[in-house]
């Protein structure tokens, strides 16, 4: 059963500072929930570099190669169309579609990998939604959360969150 100890901040900079201090105290399972991406939180949480660009370039290269091969095979080999005795396989005339299919596959891979892999969405239910106050996380408040399995550690974590300046500190438990 997962438990989330959560605390609210009204200023994004306080939120970043709090995360830094909590990490300094050795708290694990930290995350921050904010209405917009806030500056410095990536470093404060110690997140590694995002791998989205790798996904994008892989998708783009596969798309471009696929697009080119498709045209070369269809027009050059499988069903050559002779127009004015021009060579059935034309390099330059294949470029526009190669470019477009490269872009298309890059876009599709970015979008779907972001949704399914990086965000793990769609997930209409999450234990954090149990807290009505947490609704402000997408509106105008900045929440710092600590995820833990250990029930005994909760009072200590709540205390630590208050120490770094959080308001409305409380704990959300995933219903069994």
């Amino acid at each position: 059963m997962r438990r989330f100890v959560i605390g609210e901040f009204t200023d994004p900079d306080d939120c970043v500072r709090a995360v830094l201090r909590l990490r300094g105290m050795g708290v694990e399972g930290l995350d921050a929930y904010t209405p917009y991406p806030i500056h410095g939180i990536d470093d404060a949480l110690g997140l590694p570099r995002s791998t989205v660009p790798l996904v994008a370039i892989t998708g783009g290269v596969i798309g471009a190669i696929g697009g080119y091969v498709m045209q070369a095979w269809m027009n050059g080999k499988d069903y050559p169309i002779n127009v004015g005795n021009r060579p059935p396989h034309g390099f330059w005339t294949n470029i526009p579609i190669t470019f477009e299919s490269g872009v298309l596959l890059a876009v599709l891979s970015i979008f779907f990998s972001a949704i399914f892999k990086y965000f793990q969405l769609p997930r209409p239910y999450h234990p954090l939604f149990e807290s009505e106050r947490f609704r402000s996380a997408s509106l105008d408040a900045f929440w710092v959360t600590v995820e833990t399995e250990d029930e005994a550690a909760i009072p200590d974590l709540e205390q630590k969150l208050r120490e770094v300046g959080a308001h409305k500190v409380h704990t959300v438990t995933e219903p069994a």
Partner: protein, 469 residues
């Protein structure tokens, strides 16, 4: 000593991009106010008018499909007419949305934040209208699938990829999909905000489904930022490539008036020109009606006017170059198209209307009054839309109706079905847009909050610096 420094600063920095006392809570309320409000009489009236116009569109489509494209005014030699004119016009309008959301993002033009959602929606709906025409103009849309897309059909033939028309299919479908996904990715955090600020259970559920369960975790934002930026980066070359490819539909043929190397840049500039005109046309009434004047300020309108002025000048240069090349080539057919058919022929009225709307009207934006007077800007924007439609008419119809052999010449007259399709798509576009304004936040909430935070942060710093002796 500090005060004159601050004064100079204020003058250099210009007016604020966001007006009035504002914080995240106020932004939530004012930006989404229109979504939660009951639809007013004005909205309902426009919506039903739009629906009625959409009925005209449906009627025209049914007639076109049932009776064939003989119902259109097309003939030989004018085999391409309203269908392609409207296609190019709509696709061009779409370009402003991508320019605003992608190119301005990469150039860090922060003011785009207030208008990007709006402009992107316009792109989507405009491309949707545009896509209708190529499908309809095939006459038998149910065959269009294997004419246009390379899928393995029983006939075992493949499309001809050396044709710019095929490039167009790929360019437009890529453009539509990219615009849609980019728009939706930008929407997810705002849909979550709507879910979380909703007061009714049903709204919470519906917005909850579309928000996909977004929680705003920093671990997600971390990837989100880069994904959004990359999509913008990929949409940027699309702005240039789509209209370049559309222009190749013409430029790669040998018809006088089409066979010009200036076409790609001049088409792209024209697309951005008409797109910004459409954004302004829609935004001026919407910002007033929806109470968004504090985030879409006169300074935004002014900035858009400047873009229109710039692109309008590029378009004017394109016209000049076309005529120069025709004269300089010494080619009789080229000269005939530019100096006889267009300037003195039976369609000269549309030609001069085009010159007036696209070259004379935007000159208004040189003056501060012209950029500041809302009514003047709106009328100018509508005229530019008209002018850009005329441009496509001039390019397509005048070049085709008098080509190489006089015995081949014929006049083109559009029929009522042609006009219904044009009118109907405008209404359908309007209907979709009204639905968008009602159900989706028209200004990107989260980006606005981020922008506002940056502004106040910056202001705090500059005031500190200004106070320093």
């Amino acid at each position: 000593m500090a005060e004159p420094v601050l004064d100079v600063r204020r003058q250099l920095e210009g007016e604020p991009w966001v007006e009035g006392p504002i914080d995240d809570g106020i932004l939530n309320k004012t930006l989404n106010h229109f979504v939660w409000k009951r639809p007013g009489r004005g909205w309902l009236m426009l919506f039903f008018l739009g629906l009625a116009g959409t009925a005209v569109l449906v009627n025209a489509i049914v007639i076109t499909i049932a009776r064939g494209i003989g119902m259109w005014g097309n003939n030989i030699p004018v085999g391409w007419a309203f269908g392609i004119i409207n296609f190019v016009w709509w696709i061009g309008i779409g370009h402003a949305g991508t320019l605003i959301s992608a190119i301005l993002l990469l150039f860090q033009q922060k003011w785009r934040t207030s208008i990007n959602r709006f402009a992107e929606a316009m792109t989507l709906f405009a491309v949707l209208q545009a896509a209708m025409f190529p499908v309809l103009h095939t006459g038998r849309p149910w065959f269009a699938l294997y004419w246009l897309f390379p899928y393995p059909s029983v006939q075992r033939i493949w499309p001809q990829f050396k044709s710019p028309l095929m490039w167009d299919v790929f360019a437009v479908s890529t453009y539509f999909i990219t615009s849609l996904l980019f728009w939706y990715l930008g929407l997810i955090p705002d849909l979550a905000a709507l879910r979380d600020s909703s007061s009714s259970k049903r709204a919470r559920k519906v917005y909850g489904i579309f928000a996909l369960g977004w929680r705003g975790s920093s671990r997600h934002w971390h990837h989100y930022k880069i994904a959004y930026l990359l999509l913008a980066g990929l949409a940027t070359p699309l702005v240039l490539s789509v209209h370049t490819i559309v222009s190749w539909d013409f430029a790669l043929s040998i018809l006088p008036g089409w066979h010009t190397t200036v076409f790609p840049p001049y088409f792209v500039a024209g697309a951005v020109f008409s797109g910004f005109a459409m954004v302004v046309t829609l935004m001026i009434p919407a910002r007033r009606y929806m109470g968004l004047k504090h985030v879409i300020t006169p300074r935004h309108i002014e900035a858009m006017c400047k873009v229109m002025l710039l692109t309008g000048l590029i378009v004017a240069y394109g016209y000049a170059m076309e005529h120069f090349a025709a004269w300089y080539s010494g080619n009789g057919y080229e000269e005939h198209v530019f100096f006889k058919t267009r300037a003195q022929g039976p369609y000269r009225f549309i030609y001069y209307l085009m010159l007036f709307c696209n070259i004379c009207v935007p000159q208004l934006f040189w003056t501060r009054w012209g950029r500041r007077n809302i009514y003047a800007v709106w009328i100018a924007a509508v005229l530019i839309n008209v002018g850009m439609w005329c441009e496509r008419f001039v390019i397509i119809v005048t070049s085709l109706h008098q080509d190489f052999i006089p015995s081949n010449w014929a006049m083109y007259y559009p029929t009522w079905v042609d006009f219904s399709l044009l009118f109907g798509t405008i209404c359908f576009f309007g209907t979709l847009f009204l639905l968008f304004l009602k159900y989706i936040p028209a200004v990107a909430n989260y980006e606005m909050k981020e922008f506002h935070h940056e502004l106040t942060h910056e202001k705090g710093l500059t005031e500190l610096e200004g106070a320093r002796p």
